[in-house]
């Protein structure tokens, strides 16, 4: 009898607690280190702000690992509600119509106030469909800029950062004359030196508005502008104006060690450079070729966005919607932007950061935002939406490396890469049609 009473109390308690228990929302992400801690902090602040939902961030490794595990989990019906996917995975996510819950729809169906015009179009454009509706929520977006070593510049008697690639060449020569062995190096060569090069000069990287127009897109990066640029860089590799340092951002080591005086890298690399550079450095906009374009266009973004996956309860989706709203509120955005160096995704967050005097106190942090938001994005600068983009980037890396090593000329290398890349696009078209 006594036991029965106890049991009923326990059952009663557990019913009561489940009545109050917050709905759990899993969020898989790829933010390691300091950014990962910040992600936990953001989730905790959201959880503390209300009782109904509990967001659980789970670190799943790098971008590729996170995406692959989310897909594997989806196949096993164990998928998280939210997953962070890098920009090159966008086309794959979009094409998986049965797997994703478009953000604009989620917001509408859960009755969450959602004003798409509050977002920076240069950022969200990458993640909208042809009707301009947001499919995923931008979270961490960045854009390539030019970092330069002010100390080495001073020593060589240079007072200004180069604006154009012509100036990069003359600046590098002056630097070399003053004893610097390498002019510049680059991170993420395909993203910076081909994708963003094309956007900056408003020339297509691929047909049909860089793939936004449909799956029948074809690569176009073997045009005269790109060939001339790659050819020039091949020449620079020989005389030390450029020094290749790998496919990712390993080149940072050459910039830190002052071997290279300039470094084209993501705006989100700011925090790392600030921590590691034992010298005074500056941030300038990504150079363009004088004479090839009157007014350089905006650059396109890299980074990742948050996708909502199908297969969860209405209650959970309500929580997801309310979390995404929280995430894009001006104060959270401004804090994330200032902490990580990623771009703000709303105008309000940008204005708030400006109002707080952050840009004035941290020179260079605004460069990426300004570069991103000048002018209205065109079909060539809105972004890239290409299937099998991961493989295509690999193909481009191989082509560029064959030019840097002097094995193949730029035109041949890019022609081959376009041809091989198109095979990947056709394969994707066939799978997803």
């Amino acid at each position: 009898m006594h036991n029965l009473k106890l049991a009923s109390v326990v059952v009663g308690l557990s019913i009561a607690s489940s009545g109050f228990a917050a709905t759990e929302i899993e969020w898989w992400h790829a933010m390691g280190g300091a950014n990962g801690e910040k992600v936990n902090e953001i989730a905790k602040a959201f959880n503390d702000s209300q009782d109904a939902y509990e967001v659980k961030p789970v670190y799943k490794g790098n971008y590729t690992e996170t995406m692959t595990s989310a897909i594997a989990a989806f196949r096993a019906k164990q998928q998280p509600a939210i997953v962070q996917v890098f920009e090159v995975g966008t086309a794959s996510m979009m094409a998986a119509k049965g797997a994703i819950y478009p953000v604009y729809k989620l917001m509408r169906e859960s009755g969450q106030a959602f004003d798409e015009s509050a977002y920076l179009s240069a950022v969200t454009g990458y993640y909208t469909n042809s009707d301009g509706q947001m499919l995923s929520m931008p979270f961490n977006s960045s854009t390539p800029v030019l970092y330069y070593n002010k100390d080495l510049f001073k020593k060589a008697g240079i007072s200004q950062a180069p604006k154009t690639w012509q100036e990069v060449e003359t600046t590098a020569k002056k630097l070399q004359a003053s004893g610097v062995s390498c002019g510049f190096t680059t991170a993420w060569q395909s993203w910076v030196q081909l994708e963003n090069l094309s956007a900056r000069h408003n020339v297509p990287f691929a047909s049909m508005d860089n793939g936004f127009g449909g799956l029948k897109t074809e690569l176009k990066f073997n045009g005269p502008l790109q060939v001339a640029h790659v050819e020039k860089m091949g020449e620079w590799q020989k005389n030390g104006i450029f020094s290749y340092s790998g496919r990712t951002n390993d080149g940072a080591a050459k910039f830190y060690s002052q071997e290279c005086a300039m470094f084209t890298e993501s705006s989100a690399g700011y925090a790392g450079i600030k921590r590691n550079a034992k010298f005074d450095f500056g941030v300038a906009e990504l150079p363009y070729w004088e004479g090839k374009v009157k007014q350089p266009s905006n650059t396109i973004i890299g980074g990742a966005s948050l996708w909502v996956l199908q297969g969860h309860s209405k209650e959970e989706y309500k929580g997801v919607a309310s979390f995404l709203s929280y995430l894009s509120s001006a104060s959270v955005q401004a804090d994330w932007h200032q902490f990580s160096g990623y771009l703000p995704i709303t105008k309000a967050a940008y204005d708030l950061t400006k109002g707080q005097g952050f840009y004035a106190a941290n020179p260079g942090t605004e460069t990426g935002v300004i570069q991103m938001t000048t002018g209205t994005p065109t079909g060539n600068t809105k972004g890239l939406r290409l299937g099998n983009f991961v493989q295509i980037r690999g193909i481009i890396d191989e082509a560029l490396e064959s030019v840097w090593s002097g094995d193949v000329d730029a035109q041949t290398a890019l022609n081959t890469a376009v041809e091989r890349g198109n095979t990947q696009l056709r394969k994707f078209e066939k799978t997803n049609d």
């Binding site: 590729t64 692959t68 998986a96 496919r247 390993d250 071997e259 191989e398 090593s405 394969k427």
Partner: protein, 292 residues
């Protein structure tokens, strides 16, 4: 000679754990890969289309695939030969040590406990062209080390990184093999006036041939199948395609590129190649092996 068991059930029961492991971790995935290779499927598994041999046709019409095969052969044989020769040398030396034998042996076996990706990162740091100690030392010796640009240097790097941890494994087997060589044979040869070098090549090495053969098979299988972690951590298959081996391509196309059908077809081809190689080894090389 045949061992007989009183009941029929017992031998099967004893075999069961191993059979289960083989079935779950080898036969089942292999069957899945074989099936997958005939389909084209999107990453999420939402749609699936039977396309017959198209995945294979794509592979065999791609000239880069043949290049990757060649790269794999160069890589695998380098790993096997370098790894086995160094391990043999170390085993012979460790076998002669009298004091502190255990310490030496333990230290030599240690690297085997390091995960492949970690081994990759370790060597990647040592050889980093702008800050790696070995790269800087090579530079001061007049060798311009830059595996980001030089395909041959990249190959040397992945071979070193892949071989390093395999040396421990080989060492262990060679050492055990050496300890099994009867002392009386060596002593008899020494009395007959055979030099240490001659004693090694005419007595010890032939007696080691079963071990050597076993290690050759194991090392080739290791180099063919288990090295994608090292390659991913060091060169990512570059520069160009100079270190893209078949197994790295399987990993890259499947797990990074999410092309499941294409990747499955590649793994089926890889499985066939290794199967064929093992048959060849058993048919032709094993004849030269002397099982005492």
């Amino acid at each position: 000679m045949t061992v007989t068991f009183p009941q029929k059930g017992l031998p099967w029961l004893l075999l069961l754990p191993q059979l289960l492991v083989t079935a779950i971790f080898f036969l089942w995935p292999a069957e899945q890969a074989l099936e997958q290779a005939f389909y084209q499927e999107d990453a999420f598994g939402l749609s699936r289309e039977f396309i017959g041999l198209e995945n294979f046709a794509d592979l065999f019409t791609d000239p880069l695939y043949y290049q990757s095969m060649l790269t794999t052969l160069v890589f695998s044989f380098s790993v096997a030969i370098v790894g086995m020769s160094l391990a043999l040398l170390l085993a012979v030396m460790a076998d002669r040590i009298i004091r502190g034998k255990l310490a030496y042996q333990t230290l030599l076996i240690w690297p085997y406990a390091v995960a492949p990706a970690l081994a990759g990162v370790l060597w990647w740091i040592l050889f980093d062209p702008s800050m790696g100690p070995i790269a800087l030392w090579l530079k001061s010796a007049g060798i311009n080390w830059n595996h980001y640009l030089d395909g041959n240097q990249a190959m040397i790097l992945v071979v070193i990184a892949s071989t390093w941890k395999q040396i421990s494994y080989n060492f262990l087997f060679f050492l055990a093999g050496l300890q099994a060589v009867p002392r009386s044979l060596i002593e008899a040869a020494a009395i007959d006036g055979a030099s240490p070098f001659k004693r090694f090549w005419t007595i010890v090495f032939p007696l080691l041939s079963p071990t050597t053969f076993f290690l050759l098979v194991v090392n080739l299988v290791y180099a063919f199948f288990e090295t994608f972690g090292v390659i991913d951590a060091t060169t990512k298959g570059g520069p160009g395609q100079s270190t893209t081996t078949l197994v790295y391509k399987v990993f890259d196309d499947g797990f990074v590129g999410l092309d499941l059908g294409g990747s499955a077809a590649q793994s089926v081809v890889l499985m066939a190649i290794v199967g064929l190689m093992t048959v060849i080894q058993f048919r032709f090389i094993e004849r030269k092996v002397q099982y005492s």
